[in-house]
């Protein structure tokens, strides 16, 4: 009994978040196909932003390049799962070993994730050694390079032309499963000694080095893990769309995912989960409003709400705190309590300096 309590205590955050995600995922289909599809995209965004969080949130190094891993996952997953017959006409000049591969969906997802992780590892070899700010820019360069290669490698990606014929295996169940697994996986990483070391380096790089944290190594691990998670999300997204171009994984999505993470709060997994949920719900509600105001409200309204959130809660909605049973209890009882917060409150001015003295 005691052991169960401990286990429950340890996993309460991902459990609650998974429940939240499940609740939304299971409610959405009641609203018909339109809402179900929105829920799928939202759940994929949750996986994506949680993946981004596993690097950017835990290490404190902002990444402008993680969508490159998503595109790599998407293209890999598509190439190994397009039926052989279609592949022959679609991509006649494909290298032999890919041309003759047709994997089942789960294997395609795994392959996409692993290839993305591999690329992330190769990228990390030189990049993880750089100071934080240089990593952000280097990853942006990786994004541009990946985009350009995919846009011009006609024999493998069809270049800027849409890659079609991708089996559409992603349904609500798949999106839910992947989102929930991602939440548990990243939480597990966050609470592991690797995650702890990485977070120590986020709080104070020098001090963490002083106690023996190999910051380069920890960032490298985080890059590979986030590359895997985002690569998986890429396969799932590609097999939801069925047709995609390199542009679907470029600047727009980069800005959007960063915004979702920051709106939710970069310093907790809870933030990474509620950011995409909030944006999805807002988009939907504002679009309903458009029937009264006319088109355009959604974009403008979303931007304004984002500004308001940032102004009133600069550390994001979660404020760096994790969702716990006690949070719920505390709210219900409306009594004073000391929230068992994981991350210390980032003092604004100090946070800036921490980034400065890399």
């Amino acid at each position: 009994m005691g052991r169960l309590r401990v286990a429950l205590d340890r996993t309460q955050t991902p459990l609650l978040l998974a429940l939240l995600v499940l609740a939304i995922g299971l409610l959405a289909p009641l609203g018909g196909l339109a809402l179900e599809n929105r829920a799928i995209v939202m759940l994929i965004n949750v996986s994506l932003v949680v993946g981004l969080y596993s690097f950017a949130g835990l290490s404190g190094v902002l990444s402008f390049g993680h969508m490159s891993f998503m595109s790599i996952g998407a293209y890999t997953g598509a190439l190994v799962s397009i039926p052989l017959v279609a592949k022959g006409t679609l991509l006649p000049d494909l290298p032999g070993f890919i041309a003759n591969t047709e994997l089942s969906f789960p294997l395609a997802v795994l392959t996409g994730g692993l290839v993305a992780a591999l690329v992330a590892f190769v990228v990390s070899l030189p990049v993880a050694r750089l100071p934080a700010l240089a990593i952000s820019l280097a990853l942006f360069a990786v994004l541009v390079i990946a985009y350009q290669v995919e846009s011009n490698w006609d024999s493998v990606t069809r270049g800027r032309q849409a890659l079609f014929g991708v089996p559409t295996n992603t349904n609500l169940g798949v999106a839910l499963l992947v989102a929930v697994l991602t939440i548990f996986f990243v939480y597990g990483y966050q609470e592991s000694r690797f995650g702890l070391r990485l977070r120590a380096s986020r709080e104070n790089e020098l001090a963490s080095q002083a106690i023996g944290v190999d910051v380069v190594r920890e960032r490298r691990i985080a890059l590979v893990i986030s590359g895997f998670v985002i690569g998986v999300a890429g396969v799932v997204y590609a097999q939801y769309l069925g047709v995609f171009t390199p542009n679907d994984f470029y600047l727009d999505l980069t800005f959007l995912t960063i915004a979702m993470l920051v709106i939710g709060g970069t310093r907790s997994l809870t933030g990474a989960v509620i950011g995409p949920i909030l944006v999805a719900v807002l988009t939907y509600v504002l679009q309903r409003g458009e029937t009264i105001t006319g088109p355009g409200l959604q974009q403008i309204g979303l931007a304004l709400v984002m500004l308001v959130v940032l102004i009133f809660r600069p550390a994001g909605l979660s404020g760096g705190a994790e969702l716990r049973f006690s949070t719920l209890r505390g709210l219900l009882a409306r009594s004073r309590f000391r929230a068992a917060s994981r991350a210390p409150e980032p003092e604004p001015a100090r946070a800036k300096e921490a980034l400065d003295d890399v």
Partner: protein, 292 residues
């Protein structure tokens, strides 16, 4: 030889434009740690300003557009960035995303997505031939305006009280405030300068392309962002060198790559950026503050 000089002149033109884009972004970054992605929308506002005021004579239109951009920059700072001042760089960054997204969509609603034509006197876009080298009007304009603006800024920052206050704030914001420098004034002033630079850049872009459109700020701001980051944290001279390298590199790859690879030019340019980062991880000009 003539060919080489020709490429050099072309590169100088693009590098000057890039420098004008990067300078204000680096300036604001240095003072408040904000990478202002909405800077691109200031350029867009400037271009639409030129479009709106084009009915009057060009000098007056340019002046009015410049005023409009400066006002927009000040309003942007007051409404969006002041409330989040001192937050983490991510929060500041995403605030600027939101401002950028907002302004772009407002522009789309007002002007639609088709570009608006802006007429400028043909004198400005005339090509001049000097000893076999053809110099585009835009090149002369970019180099000239960049030199004036950068020179003006250097003199301003070195020799005026306000400029020194700005430099002090960039060095150590908290300390600057302690010795009595008014933060609001310094930051507003910096935004006004960035607005002016955006207005000048908008003028060059309109003279070059003859049009204003809602998404025109995206490419410039990305160039500015990359140049600023390449240059080293908040270092103005670093950002200028970064901008020049980026401009020169773009022209060089455009000239050297064979046709089949040319459409992937940016892959080579950013490959260069990556290499440069590996060689100089602290940026081209390592910032003073990085000494710990």
């Amino acid at each position: 030889m003539t060919e080489l000089i020709q490429h050099f002149v072309d590169a100088a033109g693009l590098a000057s434009l890039y420098a004008l884009l990067a300078l204000p972004v680096a300036l604001i970054y240095g003072i408040m740690g904000l990478i202002n992605f909405a800077h691109g929308e200031l350029i867009m506002i400037g271009a639409y300003g030129l479009f709106i005021f084009a009915a009057v004579t060009l000098p007056l239109a340019a002046f009015l557009a410049l005023v409009l951009v400066i006002v927009a920059a000040l309003a942007m700072e007051r409404a969006a960035f002041r409330p989040v001042r001192g937050s983490s760089p991510e929060t500041l960054l995403v605030t600027s995303f939101a401002v950028s997204f907002l302004l772009q969509n407002v522009a789309l609603m007002i002007f639609g997505s088709r570009p608006k034509s802006v007429e400028t006197p043909s004198v400005l876009s005339q090509t001049v031939t000097v000893g076999g080298v053809q110099v585009e009007g835009v090149t002369i304009l970019s180099v000239g305006l960049a030199l004036v603006c950068i020179g003006g800024l250097v003199i301003f920052m070195r020799h005026t009280a306000f400029g020194m206050a700005m430099r002090a704030s960039a060095e150590d914001f908290t300390m600057a405030r302690l010795v009595g420098i008014r933060a609001n004034a310094v930051i507003s002033g910096t935004f006004a300068i960035s607005g002016a630079a955006a207005g000048v850049a908008a003028f060059i872009l309109v003279v070059q392309g003859g049009s204003a459109f809602a998404t025109m700020g995206l490419t410039p701001v990305i160039i500015a962002f990359v140049a600023t980051m390449m240059g080293g944290l908040g270092s103005l001279s670093g950002a200028l060198i970064g901008a020049c390298l980026l401009g020169a590199g773009t022209v060089a790859f455009d000239v050297m790559l064979p046709t089949q690879l040319r459409s992937a030019r940016d892959a080579f340019v950013y490959g260069g950026v990556l290499l440069l980062l590996l060689v100089r991880p602290q940026g081209i000009v390592a910032s003073r503050r990085e000494r710990v």
